[in-house]
Amino acid sequence: MKVTFKIWRQKNAKAGGEFKSYDVEGLTEDMSFLEALDHLNEILVLQNEPVIAYEYDCREGICGQCGVFINGRAHGPHDNMTTCQLHMRSFTDGETIVVEPWRAKAFPVITDLVVDRSAFDRIIENGGYITAKTGTAPEANAILVGKEVADKAMDAAACIGCGACVATCKNASAALFTAAKINHLNSLPQGKQEADKRVLEMTWQMEEEGFGSCTFTGACEVECPEGISITNIAEMNARRAKAKWLG
């Protein structure tokens, strides 16, 4: 299999970037998309060129470190899938594949396809936790959580923090990411004590980081590898309004 990769190259955060084309042969349909890039990098090394920087770690769709824009879509052509789970069988022989980094004001490019997503960490830092020091917990079954509640919390908690929701949103909004964490914790009895504070602080930080507002286009839930529903955002907004106006 042979493809042409058109890849964004950018030396560092301050430098300008540009697309460069690479014709790559010797690929197979069973290769993952990232393995195809690995293959290209080996070719570049042997041609004495610096490798293309892109992110990955677990390569099984759970760590959230990988993520690039492929042919105009976050994580490539499929819905609800990470870049590392994408395989070359999803492309046709001879195809040109355009690869770009996430584009968002709050995710500055570091180099090539690598962006800085530390804004997500700072949102979590501002309330995305339950305050309970190690050693202070009561007996586990003393806190009952019904199956439906636990399942719903788990649906939201599944977020892998990849940033596809931001990258695909025309407003570069982090509403789905933020809502997922708020709803995970606020729907559980353990999270109730800090519920109002949490929703106010996390959403405040979200805006502080320069993410845009949500206009409910629904683009995010299509790309979210965990399929986290956009209804989470509505729920977050309701929780926020309640915390703000009713206290």
Binding site: D30, E60, C63, Q85, R89, I124, I143, V145, A150, H184
Partner: protein
């Protein structure tokens, strides 16, 4: 002489006795003490957060862009705890015994007992942190079984238990970061340990964005850097997982224990091509309901669903009737290898076995199976394009967990005073084979409960010493060594890529030092790896520069250490002339092909010291006062 510092008293009182006698530090003094934690998985994040809560000044490092990426995130199936919620005869003692036996009696009784003892409060902790564990309709916690045990003691959050526990630890950590009790250094990789007057006093790290080398001083250094099975190249681990921090510590004096004890996981997806970079794991929990089989006919070309029931060989159920598909991992992997090698493998490359849910779906209905394993089936479909609700999965053994690691005493301190190793990077509780769902457990127990209650016993004395300072000559020396090492690698300018050498090393390690080992093969492997090392340093090519983000350079530095680590692993496997757990020496097996342990000669932990490129063996004799080591039988 290795002093494991096991406390006095009966097994069930040892931890309490230890805590009563260990030195304490008053809260005002704790903030004067700095602790470096390298790694941010369950062990590292749990330790860093808890130490910060206790009042210490903590610096935490990870090579990823955020602590939330650490590979604990990928553990699927669950975490064990002796809660006995299922009323099925579980207890701390039984969990202790299962773990010790599962490890084929090659771990320390006192450590294993403590692991079981602290498992129950750990579940309490995670529930309080908001981990959405699976629940019954009435609201209580659910359990399931894992390999090697006959009770239900595994807690889980769908097939994403590791993710949920890690996110809890990560958010607890970043809460402390916001409180300015933890300084977080993401995208930083430790490249050397700094030892002053025989004590660990800091690290040299490379900022992976700027390429700059930086010095960090501390009163104690904690390594929580995970496993090193990427030495096989193809493994279930994250691509960035590496053994470099351990290897640098080993070279600076920390003994490396049981380096060759590697768990080969029975249920990963089979390799499909040479270009493959990793083997995706399918959770062991699938063996609760899935049945493993191969065709009875050699090289049967029919599709799985076309092979009638009577022509299927459910070999685990046949060989191990009492544990069946839930036999421990080492046994299940070896049994798969035996069938594949004998020519019964399935799939395009004949390198897999079937994992079939047909019966489970007939018994419980598709909805139940979907509820239990939905995300795993989805993942399987994404990777292979196959619908496992309609035809069986194909699975194959893959390099997974490192039971081996830095040797630690009861306090989790290595042989370098002030240097601790926690989680997968130490050798402690799992012996020669780890039981499923004990990995998240051990990482968490080490990080949250043990280390924060042992490090004080060392740091109480550190208060009277000079504050560590990065201007010290030892930092200068270490930084210069690291710089020279990097420059040397960049200067080779040969003709082969790093991945080329990694593939070569991986092949040797998988062939000779994985599921089945023998003297001749290991001796050959040592020579082959020495040759790979020579070729690497003469012919590798690393492009890009030093003072910039250079992912190829990162890979190259890890690779250089993997080669040396591979040598030690083969040396260790060669030295141990017995079979135990995952270490199966072909010369030592029973007539039925089961592992033959030799307790008279090998009831010890092999702890290797580094001496200018040579390895010297030290032994920690294992004494069993509470349990009599028996022949491990799952028949």
């Amino acid at each position: 002489m290795l002093d494991s510092k096991i406390p006095e008293g009966p097994l069930e009182n040892k931890w309490r006795n230890y805590q009563m006698k260990s030195q304490l530090i008053n809260p005002a003094n704790k903030k004067k003490l700095n602790i470096i934690v390298v790694g941010s998985g369950l062990a590292g994040a749990g330790a860093a957060a808890t130490l910060a809560e206790l009042g210490y000044d903590v610096q935490c490092f990870c090579y990823q862009d955020s602590a939330r990426r650490a590979h604990s995130v990928a553990a699927q199936g669950g975490i064990n705890a002796a809660k006995n919620y299922q009323h099925d005869g579980d207890s701390v003692w039984r969990m202790f015994h299962d773990t010790l036996k599962g490890g084929d009696f090659r771990s320390r009784e006192a450590n294993v007992y403590r692991l079981a003892e602290l498992s129950a409060p750990l579940i309490d902790h995670y529930v309080q942190q908001g981990v959405p564990f699976a629940r019954e309709y009435g609201g209580v916690l659910v359990n399931r079984s894992f390999g090697g045990v006959q009770v239900q003691r595994t807690f889980y959050a769908r097939g994403q238990t590791g993710q949920q526990l890690l996110l809890a630890a990560y958010s607890q950590l970043y809460k402390m970061k916001r409180a300015k009790k933890v300084s977080m250094f993401a995208r930083h990789e430790m490249l050397d340990l700094v030892v002053i007057d025989g004590k660990a006093k800091g690290i040299i790290a490379r900022d992976l964005v700027t390429g700059q080398l930086k010095r960090f001083a501390a009163d104690a250094v904690v390594l929580a850097t995970g496993g090193y099975s990427r030495v096989f190249r193809l493994s279930t681990l994250a691509i960035g997982c590496n053994g470099s921090a351990l290897w640098k510590a080993h070279k600076k004096g920390a003994y490396f224990a049981a380096p060759s004890f590697t768990q080969i996981h029975p249920t990963a997806l089979p390799q499909t091509s040479e270009a493959q970079s990793k083997l995706t794991l399918m959770s062991e929990s699938l063996r609760n309901d899935g049945r493993i089989w191969v065709p009875k006919k050699k090289g049967d070309a029919r599709k799985a669903n076309d092979i009638p029931e009577e022509e299927r060989d459910y070999y685990l159920e046949r060989r191990y009737p009492s544990f069946g598909n839930l036999a421990p991992r080492d046994i299940a992997s070896r049994a798969a290898k035996e069938r594949i090698d004998a020519g019964y493998g399935v799939g395009r490359l004949k390198n897999g076995v079937y994992l079939d849910f047909k019966h489970a779906m007939a018994n419980f209905g598709m909805e139940t199976i979907q509820d239990r394993y939905g995300n795993l089936f989805k993942m399987y479909n994404k990777i292979t394009g196959v619908d496992a609700y309609k035809e069986p999965m194909q699975i194959s053994p893959a390099a997974h967990f490192s039971m081996g690691g830095l040797w630690v005493d009861y306090e989790l301190m290595t042989t370098v005073p002030g240097l601790y190793a926690i989680g997968e990077c130490n050798f402690s509780d799992h012996g020669a084979n780890r039981l499923g769902a004990n990995s998240l457990l051990q990482a968490s127990i080490d990080g949250y409960f043990v280390l924060p209650n042992t490090i004080n016993n060392y740091l109480a004395d550190a208060l009277r010493e000079n504050q560590p300072n990065t201007d010290h000559a030892a930092f200068e020396l270490a930084e210069n060594e690291v710089r020279r090492h990097i420059q040397k690698l960049l200067a080779v300018n040969g003709t082969q890529t790093i991945d080329h050498f990694h593939r070569e090393l991986g092949k040797v390690m998988w062939q000779e030092c994985a599921m089945s080992r023998n003297k001749e093969g290991l001796e050959k492997a040592i020579v082959q790896i020495q040759n790979i090392r020579t070729a690497f340093w003469n012919d590798v090519k690393v492009t890009g520069g030093f003072q910039e983000m250079n992912t190829e350079l990162e890979k190259g530095l890890r690779m250089a250490d993997f080669i040396e680590l591979g040598l030690l692993m083969c040396t260790d496997a060669l030295q141990r002339q017995e079979s135990c757990g995952a270490h199966f020496r072909e010369e030592y097996q029973t007539a039925e092909g089961e592992a033959l342990r030799k307790d008279d000669d090998y009831s010890f932990v092999s702890a290797w010291a580094y001496d200018k490129g040579n390895f010297k063996l030290h032994k920690e004799i294992l004494e069993f006062e509470n349990v009599t080591p028996t022949v491990r039988s799952y028949k």
